[in-house]
Structures are given as structure tokens and as C-alpha cells.
Amino acid sequence: MPKRILIVDDSASILQVERLVLSEAGYEVVQATDGQDALAKLNGTPMHLVLTDLNMPRLDGIGLIRAIRTNPVHRLVPVVMVTTESKDAKKQEGKAAGATGWIVKPFTPEQLLAVVKKVIG
């Protein structure tokens, strides 16, 4: 059974890249375009990993992480944040919200897979 990953980003091209890389590596990929959308998708299907952008309309990445961590069903799902800045402040914010890890954009497919592999094997 392939592991299922929810990718969340408001940019279609990023979603496309992530989908390409992850599905090629044998993961099942579900996509969402913002935090609200992600929560809706999460409620329908259990995920092995959530990969989320930070700046998004409606519900941003930090908000999504907080919502996931307080959800009785999904609170232990690993969440990796995808961010354009390698600044510590953003990382700390995500960490405090309960993120499992992060990856800095732009990344190579190898880097993305390495992070995903590290979190869910």
C-alpha cells in the first residue's frame, strides 16, 4: 500500500512539481490549494504526511499546523512545512505550532524526497 501524502500550496506550479516528484517515487498524492481545503481533504482520508506551504489565502500553513495538532483524529500526523525562507524565525514559529520538519524552496526533487523519506520512511 503506497503511503498517502497531502500536498498543500496555492501555486499550481509548485503543486505540479511536488506531485511529479512524489508520485514518481511511488507515493499516493492528494492536493489542496489552501489550509481550509487541506483540512477538508484530511477529514475524508487519513494521511501519512502533510506537506504544506506557509503563505496561503484563507488558512495559512501555521494555522493549518495548529488546527491539525488540536484535531483529536489527526493530531499525530507528521507535517512538513515548505518555505521560501531559511530564516530561523519562521522555522521557530512552525516548530512552536507543531511542525515535524521543513524544507526550503527552491528544492531539488532529491531534497524533497530526502525530507519525505526522513519523516515517513
Binding site: 503563505n55 499525530l76 516548530k95 507543531g98 524552496k105 531539488t108 526533487p109
Partner: protein
């Protein structure tokens, strides 16, 4: 969120680098078609290029690369074997990817379609679905610092799982960084009925030998640092040490905080094995002992291994911008000049303390200068490797079979010299392939092997580097050169110069035109251009050739352009520096000699007539010449020439300063240098001076 142009530029740059690597891999593969590592390497390169292009929106690059990648996947799975046409096609594809990257998609369309068809023709027709991509291999082939061993004590809090962390992932990540040994502390796990499945009860001790830094290790735990207690200690720093020298078990346990000194002393007084005793008494857990023993073994093994391997490799490098280096060289030049002034002043004042300081400074400045200049030295091998492709393509174009051999790739030269050497070398190699090496049929008829050989050799001698381009082709045709030279008006028809003199004519500007390309069986196209480039680098070119056996072109180049070994002379109040490499000897020129030659400006030196030129006259230095002048005999391209000066001061190593814009093209001068007392000495460009003066003499006669 869109990727910026900058990001996509850096992507293009990175991909171009990968393409260059791919090219080298393909060429290697051509000579070792069954090397599976090379196939895997090529496949990985293509895979990365494809993935990255897709990510950055270069879809045409990605889809085209995919076609080539598919072929390499087939090779990798053993369904296709490497052949010469396949490599040729792959190289062509590589070139097209490069063009696609530059954004010139429209012009690539036809080639693209053709190449895709050619690629598909290679794929097996049985319609088998391509196999799933093989497991990821390590793509980061860096050459890091020596291997060190660390002890990591990782004690998660029960809340570890609450941010979704899987500790196994962390351990796996560590395992990827180096070789690890992990001891889990499981005695903290409560009885089953008390277990909270969402809490972490296990702790881990990890011994890791890795080339990564402590920060790299710490960054593995960055997202869990609040959810655990983490302690990382360097237990072996990778330096050479005695294997048995590493800490005793008790010391390790104290360092780990498992044991106090008092407890250790108490136990040591018992004549029993320490580990057993500690466990028996319940002071230290069995896991802690196991971890400590593992650490001890690991470090001892690592040290023993290093001792047998001899020197540990410590080669790390730092990339620095060329302009930073240039300004460093410049500053060091200034420092050397200032130092010379200090030395002179100290000598004048005669203060012993000051003299001592000046002497120390002198030594340090010289060392600083040498080591700064050595930073600019790079091995010539990188330039050499470009030529493999050139020769390969040329032999295909010309229908010849040519091998390129390189020797002395590790020879070091100033970066600027190497950069400016690229074009002349390409020219010479092209000439060797085009005009030197004969076609396979002609070679066989002459009893030579079908495959021609072009050999590129570099080596050091004294302050010079020599580069030789040798081919085993037909050699220069002296008769053809003779008639061509006569036709060009470079030689009187009745003249019978030696072969060597004839060969040197090919460097004459008027000798070659495009037409001679096919007429003269030797070479000649653009040799004057080559010579001019090499002259500009203060080097020289020489040719040797034996008919039917081949031709060797030898380039002599200075190690560096920043410093010149010179002979300082004076004319009136002015000082000049002549390049030492050209100076043969210094002799006196008495007034009688001058009168005897009746204004012909010829001196007899060792019973040979040598023409001379007065620097005083040439540079219009005011004042009367002394009764006894000095002639410095210089030799340029085998011709002796005298330069008359007032006196010879001596040998002088100087840092060259370029002249300002106004004076840059002054005939007879190539630069200037600042002397210890702050005055300026001009550096004489001997060859251009001789050329200009002979033109002037011909004009007046």
C-alpha cells in the same frame, strides 16, 4: 508564489554544470562501455536534470531529457548495451539540452524531433513497460573533511510523538551521515498495562563516525530539540593518535554522566571487570555499559585504521572570487614595494633595531608574496579535459581516427595564463588533427598504425612551464614551405635556409592564408595568431618536425604574469628593467669601438657582429653618455641584439604595474614598477623594441 528569474538563472547555471559532467561521463563511458557505475552516473545526471527542469518550468528540457533518460534506464537494466553510435547520439542530445536551456526553443525544433526519433529507435520494441525507478542513490558526491567520531545521547521526552516525529527517521538520517552504532535504552518502558501509546519511553545512545560537522548532526534534531535532552560530544577528532590511547571504560562512563568519580574509585578497588561490577551493583545500566564499550571500540578502530593508512586526508578547499584574489595580489605587490623602502631607510639610518625589524619584515613579505602567488596557480588539467571532446568531434568530421593523450595535467600555472591559453591550444590541436594526422588509409600505406595520436604534455622547468603538442602525422614539408614563402615574398628564391629556419617561417604573419590550408601539407593557418597570443603572455613558441614522423610545437610560458625577474639598468637618471629571461650577457662598449663601426651601430661581441640600439636615443633621455657604456646582449627568437645603457645595476625581482591608459601602447615599454625609494622604473618590452627599431632602421636606410 512564483520562482524568480534569479532562481531560474541559477537553475540554468547548475544544469549547465551537470551537462558538463554528463559529457565527461559519456566520454569515459565510450572508452569503458561496460562500466555500470558510469551508466548509473549518467542516468542520475539525466534524472536530476529532468526533475529540476520540470520544477523550474523548463518543460521542453524535462520532456526531452526524459527520452534520453529512458534509453539510459534500458542500459542500466541491461536491456541495451553501450555502443559508439549511442554515445554519439547521447552527446548530440546533451548539446541540444544545452541549447534548449538557453531558451532558443524554436531553432531546436527540427533537431529535437530527429533526435527523439533516433532515441526511440534504440529502445526495445517489445513494448515492455519501463521498470520502476531504482532506489535512490547518494547524489551528493562531495569531498568532505576527515572522519570524526561523536557520541550522541538522545533522550526524548514522552511528548516526542506529539509533533508527528518518528524517531526512526532521525536515526535513519544519522545512519545516512556516517556509520552509526545505536544502543536503545529500553528498561524505561513501563509494563504493558501502564503504557500510553502516544508517549515515547525509549532513549538512544548513538556512536557515529562521520565527515559531517557537529552542527550538521545537531540540525537533524532541530525540530525535536524542545522535546528531548540531547547531548553531542566529539570523542575522536580524526587526527592521528595511538589506537590504545583512547579513554578507559570508567572515564567514558564518567564523561557520559553515568558514574561519579567516587563510585568509580570504589569499584576499581575490587579486582573484577569494571563493567560487570557496575551492572551487578546497579550503579550503571547494562545499556550504558554497552554504549560506552561500543564507543571505546569504535574510536580505537578508527585510530588504528588511520595509523595504518598513514596520513589522513585533510584536503578541504574554499572558493574565492577571482577579483578578490587579484586585489590581494595587488596589495601584496604594494607591500613588497613598501617593504623595500623600509629596508632602504633602515640601511640609511643604520639603526640596528630597525634593521632587525626590516629584515624580519623582508622575509615575511617574501613568504607572503610567494604564497599569495601560489594561490593563483591552478592545474592545467581542467583545460586539457576540454580537448577530449574537441579531438573526438574533429576526428569524426575529418574521417580520421585520432587519439588524444595528455600528460602532466597536474602541472600548475597562473590562472590568467591558463585562461588565455585556451584558444591558442585549441588552434594548435585543430591544426594537428586537420593538417598533421593523415587519413587512416594514407597512414596504413605509410606503414603506420591507422589511429593517429595527438599528445598534449605539460611540465615545469625553472621559472617556466612548457606545453608540447605532438602529433605523429606527416610532419612539415620543407619544400612546400620554401615555395610558399618565396611566393609570399618572405624569402628570396635563391635562399637556402636550414629546415629549422624554414619551419619558423610558419609563424610569420604573411605566411598563411585560408588558401594554403589545403595546398601546404604542413600547417600554417593562423600560426601567427597563436604566436602573438603566446608572446602577449611573455612566452615563446618553437616548432620541431621530422618528415613522415610528426611535428611538435613547444610553448614556453612564465609561471606567473604578476612578477618579473629583471635586470635593472640606468640611462641618465632613469632606471629601466629588462626581462632577465632574455638577457644573455653584459659587455662594455668603449668609445673606440663605437668610432670604429662608423655609425653602423654594430659591436663585435665574441667575434660576432651584433647590432645595437642606444636606449638613451630611443627614449630621448637628456644628457651626455658616459665614456664607457654597457651593452646588454639580449636574445629574442635566436637573434642576438644589444641594448646600450649607461650602467647595469643588477638583478631585480619586481611586481609589474600596468601603465596608465595614456601610455599603455607606448612602443618598447610593457609596464612599470615602483622601486624601494619610491621612484618608478620602466619595464622594457624587448621584442617590440627590437621590432620597432628594425622598422625604423629600414626606413632610414
Amino acid at each position: 508564489m512564483k520562482f524568480t528569474e534569479q532562481v531560474s538563472n541559477s537553475f540554468v547555471e547548475e544544469t549547465n554544470e551537470r551537462l558538463a559532467e554528463l559529457e565527461a561521463t559519456l566520454l569515459d563511458l565510450e572508452s569503458e562501455p561496460s562500466n555500470v557505475d558510469l551508466v548509473a552516473k549518467a542516468f542520475r545526471a539525466l534524472h536530476t536534470i529532468k526533475g529540476a527542469s520540470a520544477m523550474f518550468g523548463f518543460d521542453s528540457v524535462a520532456s526531452f531529457t526524459h527520452e534520453l533518460e529512458t534509453v539510459f534506464d534500458e542500459i542500466r537494466n541491461g536491456r541495451l548495451s553501450v555502443t559508439q553510435p549511442l554515445i554519439g547520439l547521447a552527446l548530440e542530445c546533451r548539446d541540444l539540452i544545452r541549447r534548449l536551456l538557453s531558451g532558443d526553443e524554436d531553432s531546436c525544433h527540427a533537431d529535437r524531433t530527429r533526435l527523439i526519433q533516433a532515441l526511440r529507435a534504440f529502445q526495445p520494441v517489445d513494448g515492455q513497460p519501463p521498470s520502476a525507478p531504482a532506489k535512490k542513490e547518494d547524489l551528493f558526491g562531495t569531498r568532505p573533511p576527515p572522519e570524526r567520531t561523536y557520541r550522541i545521547l538522545f533522550r526524548p521526552k514522552p511528548e516526542l510523538f506529539h509533533n508527528g516525529t518518528n524517531p526512526l527517521g532521525l536515526l535513519n538520517e544519522l545512519a545516512e551521515m556516517g556509520s552509526t552504532q545505536v544502543v536503545a535504552t529500553t528498561r524505561t518502558i513501563p509494563p504493558l498495562q501502564d503504557i500510553d501509546p502516544e508517549s515515547c519511553y525509549v532513549a538512544w545512545d548513538i556512536i557515529i563516525s562521520t565527515r559531517k560537522s557537529m552542527d550538521d548532526i545537531r540540525s537533524v534534531f532541530i525540530f525535536v530539540e524542545d522535546l528531548c535532552t540531547l547531548r553531542i560530544d566529539l570523542v575522536d577528532d580524526g587526527e592521528n593518535q595511538d589506537a590504545d590511547d583512547y579513554k578507559k571504560l570508567g572515564e567514558i562512563l564518567i564523561e557520559r554522566g553515568d558514574l561519579t568519580t567516587e563510585q568509580l574509585k570504589a569499584c576499581l578497588s575490587e579486582q573484577k571487570r569494571l563493567g560487570e561490577l557496575l551492572v551487578e551493583r546497579g550503579i550503571v545500566s547494562a545499556e550504558a555499559i554497552e554504549a560506552a564499550v561500543l564507543e571505546q571500540q569504535r574510536v580505537r578502530e578508527a585510530r588504528a585504521r588511520r595509523n595504518t593508512n598513514g596520513q589522513c586526508e585533510n584536503a578541504t578547499s574554499v572558493r574565492v572570487g577571482a577579483e578578490k584574489l587579484d586585489s590581494l595580489v595587488d596589495l601584496v605587490g604594494e607591500l613588497v614595494i613598501a617593504q623595500a623602502r623600509l629596508g632602504q631607510l633602515a640601511g640609511m639610518l643604520g639603526n640596528t633595531d630597525l634593521l632587525n625589524v626590516a629584515e624580519t619584515m623582508d622575509r615575511l613579505a617574501a613568504e607572503l608574496r610567494d604564497s599569495t602567488l601560489s594561490i593563483r596557480m591552478v592545474p592545467i588539467g581542467t583545460t586539457f579535459s576540454r580537448f577530449n571532446r574537441l579531438v573526438r568531434d574533429l576526428s569524426a568530421d575529418l574521417g580520421k581516427e585520432i587519439d588524444l593523450q595528455t600528460e602532466g595535467a597536474e602541472t600548475e600555472l597562473d590562472k590568467t595564463v591558463i585562461e588565455r591559453l585556451g584558444d591558442p591550444l585549441i588552434h594548435l590541436i585543430r591544426n594537428s588533427c586537420d593538417h598533421g594526422i593523415e587519413s587512416p588509409e594514407v597512414r596504413e600505406a605509410a606503414g603506420k598504425p591507422r589511429r593517429g595520436l595527438v599528445r598534449l604534455t605539460a611540465y615545469h622547468t625553472g621559472p617556466n612551464v612548457f606545453i608540447e603538442i605532438h602529433d605523429d602525422g606527416a610532419g612539415l614539408d620543407a619544400n612546400a614551405i620554401h615555395s610558399k614563402a618565396v611566393e609570399r615574398g618572405l624569402l628570396a628564391p635563391e635562399a637556402t635556409p636550414s629546415h629549422q629556419d624554414l619551419f619558423n617561417l610558419i609563424f610569420q604573419p604573411g605566411f598563411s592564408t585560408a588558401k594554403t590550408l589545403s595546398n601546404v601539407s604542413g600547417r600554417g593557418v593562423g600560426m601567427d595568431v597563436v604566436k602573438r597570443s603566446i608572446d602577449a603572455l611573455r612566452g615563446s613558441v618553437e616548432v620541431q618536425s621530422t618528415k613522415g614522423q610528426g611535428t611538435t610545437i613547444r610553448l614556453r610560458l612564465p609561471l606567473t604574469l604578476a612578477i618579473i625577474e629583471g635586470l635593472m639598468v640606468t640611462v641618465g637618471e632613469t632606471r629601466y628593467v629588462l626581462p632577465m629571461s632574455l638577457v644573455e650577457e653584459c659587455v662594455e662598449l668603449a668609445r673606440e669601438d663605437v668610432e670604429r663601426s662608423h655609425g653602423n651601430n654594430l659591436a663585435t661581441v665574441r667575434s660576432e657582429l651584433v647590432p645595437y640600439l642606444r636606449l638613451r636615443e630611443w627614449f630621448s633621455v637628456p644628457g651626455e653618455q658616459p665614456a664607457i657604456e654597457q651593452i646588454v646582449i639580449v636574445s629574442v627568437e635566436g637573434v642576438r641584439f644589444g641594448l646600450v645603457v649607461d650602467s647595469v645595476v643588477g638583478q631585480h625581482q619586481t611586481v609589474i604595474k600596468t601603465l596608465g591608459k595614456m601610455y599603455r601602447h607606448t612602443e618598447g615599454l610593457s609596464g612599470a614598477t615602483i622601486l624601494g625609494d619610491g621612484t618608478v622604473a620602466l619595464i622594457v618590452d624587448v621584442s617590440s623594441l627590437i621590432k620597432a627599431s628594425s622598422v625604423a632602421m629600414q626606413a632610414t636606410s
